[in-house]
């Protein structure tokens, strides 16, 4: 199943949008306008985008802190991202947590925690639920190569293999774990090499080639969906910024960073599209401008949202029903709409249209729209 032209563009679209949002967030963080510390996926965008793109309606994803693109593909909108980044009352975490720790089962997104890689065993359990219920659904998660040194990683991989759950386990090997290079993290040749020891397939792909990532993810998702069990995908990439916004990363050799800068996943897909006659500088400029407008808007709307109130602090420690709580009750939503706030704030929708009319809109992002709120 070769990618259609539309799909090839969509992959690019999401990567560009991810980059644009993270660039804007970086600037905001520099101005002290975000809550919590900012971590970004600069240079790694092909991985969350290519992998998330391989999922279907009803699948579940557990992104990590660098996976902006995965959220976008699942239908999260920039205004939600900025509301979350600003810790607003009506954001995913409502100020209880920060950064990309957003969770939303309506769109099949599991919210991460800081402890690495704790979404991984959870993802195995999500996939186990699918298996036990005989649902043809797949669970996918992401982790850095540094996180593979943890016990949680091992237990989850082994359990996934033994229980043969429909899971896709994606390693974003960006070659650094904070200041720790891979050779101080593991002595093996690769993380994919470990798969054999768990009795599951392990593949290694160029993580800066979004189409290659997509293809690996697609194959793994297909395997999982027909009951053939989990796959470990190791995507080789590079962390182009510091670990977080406060890390100058001067421990990274300049030559290494430069070599990887030359392999920028956006530039590569851009060139592919141009070579295929699907893209040109004018469209690029228009796309970038459309993102700028959308993001500026999103930031303004998000900034205008209410901050959490001190009395919110105790809310939600305990669930009182089986239904998910939402941060944005109908009343509050209506109020926002009165203020000119988009009325589909909590509803996944197709993302903003591409600039030129040559390409159909990516329908993919709408996937989550008709998912039910709770799987129970």
């Amino acid at each position: 199943m070769p990618l259609t032209s539309d799909e090839r563009y969509q992959l690019y679209h999401y990567m560009r949008q991810s980059r644009a949002i993270e660039d804007a967030a970086w600037a905001l963080a520099g101005q002290g306008r975000l809550v919590g510390r900012l971590y970004t996926g600069h240079g790694q965008e092909a991985i969350p985008v290519g992998c998330a793109f391989a999922l279907a309606d009803g699948d579940v994803i557990a992104p990590m802190y660098r996976d902006m693109g995965a959220h976008l593909v699942r239908g999260i909108r920039p205004v939600e991202v900025f509301a979350q980044y600003m810790g607003k009352r009506d954001s995913s975490n409502g100020g209880t947590d920060s950064g990309l720790h957003m969770g939303d089962m309506a769109r099949g997104i599991v919210g991460m925690i800081s402890v690495l890689p704790d979404s991984l065993p959870v993802t195995v359990g999500v996939a186990l639920a699918f298996k036990l219920r005989r649902e043809p659904r797949v669970a996918m998660t992401f982790f850095g190569e540094g996180s593979t040194s943890t016990g949680a990683w091992h237990e989850a991989l082994n359990m996934a293999a033994v229980l043969k759950v429909p899971a896709v386990l994606v390693c974003e090997n960006n070659q650094w774990a904070l200041s720790t290079p891979t050779e101080r993290e593991y002595a093996a040749g690769s993380i994919a090499d470990r798969a054999h020891g768990y009795g599951l397939p392990g593949v290694r792909v160029d993580g800066n080639d979004v189409e290659a990532v997509y293809e690996a993810a697609r194959a793994a998702v297909a395997r999982a969906r027909i009951g053939e069990g989990p796959t470990l995908i190791e995507c080789m990439t590079f962390r182009m910024r510091g670990h977080s916004i406060i890390d100058p990363a001067d421990y990274v050799p300049a030559a290494q960073r430069e070599a990887w800068a030359a392999r920028d996943p956006l530039a590569r897909q851009f060139e592919r599209l141009v070579a295929a006659g699907l893209w040109d500088d004018a469209r690029e400029a228009a796309l970038v401008e459309s993102f700028r407008v959308e993001i500026d808007d999103a930031i303004d709307v998000a900034a205008a949202l209410e901050d959490p109130r001190p009395e919110d602090v105790g809310a939600g420690v305990w669930a009182t029903t089986d239904a998910p709580a939402t941060r944005l009750p109908a009343a509050a939503l209506a109020e926002l709409v009165d203020q000119g706030y988009p009325d589909d704030f909590r509803v996944p929708r197709p993302m903003s249209p591409p600039p030129a009319d040559v390409l159909a809109m990516p329908a993919h992002a709408a996937a989550g729209a008709d998912r039910e709120r709770n799987d129970a």
Partner: protein
Amino acid sequence: MRELTYLEAIREALHDEMTRDPRVFLLGEDIAGYGGVYKATDGFVDAFGADRVVDTPISENAIIGAATGAAIMGMRPIAEIQFADFIACAFDPLVNMASTIHYRWGQPVPLVVRMPAGATWAGAGPFHSQSMEAWFAQVPGLKIVMPHTPADAKGLLLAAIRDPNPVLFLEQKYLYRRLKGPVPEGDYTVPLGQAAIARPGRDATVIAYGTMAHKALEAAALVAADDIDVEVIDLRTIVPWDREAVLASVAKTGRALVVYEAHRTAGFGAEIAAEIAEAAFTDLDAPVQRLAGLDTPIPAHPMLEAAYLPDEHAIAAALRALVAW
């Protein structure tokens, strides 16, 4: 009413709820063919199939993590930890992940962790005897249940399974086969957070739970001979705990003894004692007393273990001293 052992009551609760609710499934080590080390799920795999009685590798962390994942997808997983002491290996996914999900992004985590806890009074040693309610009582978002009677064991377990929060269910292995009692047939729940007055009395209140509630009743019988009339409150649930019931009792008796078998220092009894001392200050005719396990690992030799554990005689002695204060 027919009588069941504590263990049979637990088995019945599991069996009934699995029959009633297809979302309920079990996962843990050696729980399927083997039926669990205490045979709580004996025969379940034949009755419910291997999909609903999932044997796992020795991976406590992943058991809790995976149960959490299944719970947020709307299943009702019940994880069995072979011995409660090994939950130390899954401390992180409980205190950092399962407990915070609803607070952070609103998704309920209807997860039960069953685990045989406490001393056996037969020398099971430092790693098969611990009572770890205080490890978790400080963690917002986790409920903790420690039943005493067979009837409560069934009703509390059913309540725990139906609760939309993660619940640690600390079964008292000392009571498994030792305690038999009337257990209603059919479906009923004992609400989490509601203490029982296990024995009404007027001279002093003993607050206890699990095995120690059992011992406290024995002690109350001992001191009854000295005309000391003790009220025994069986807390049943540690988080949330029934502060009102405790304070009401202390308001009546004016004297309180908190008994727990975990190590004394920083045990959950400290919370109870501190609350009573603060809220019932003017009611108290004597200082709130605590009687607990020693601040040592729980030794394997039964003679040392006995020295570690509070028993009915120690409780009786503490009650006599309290009443004489």
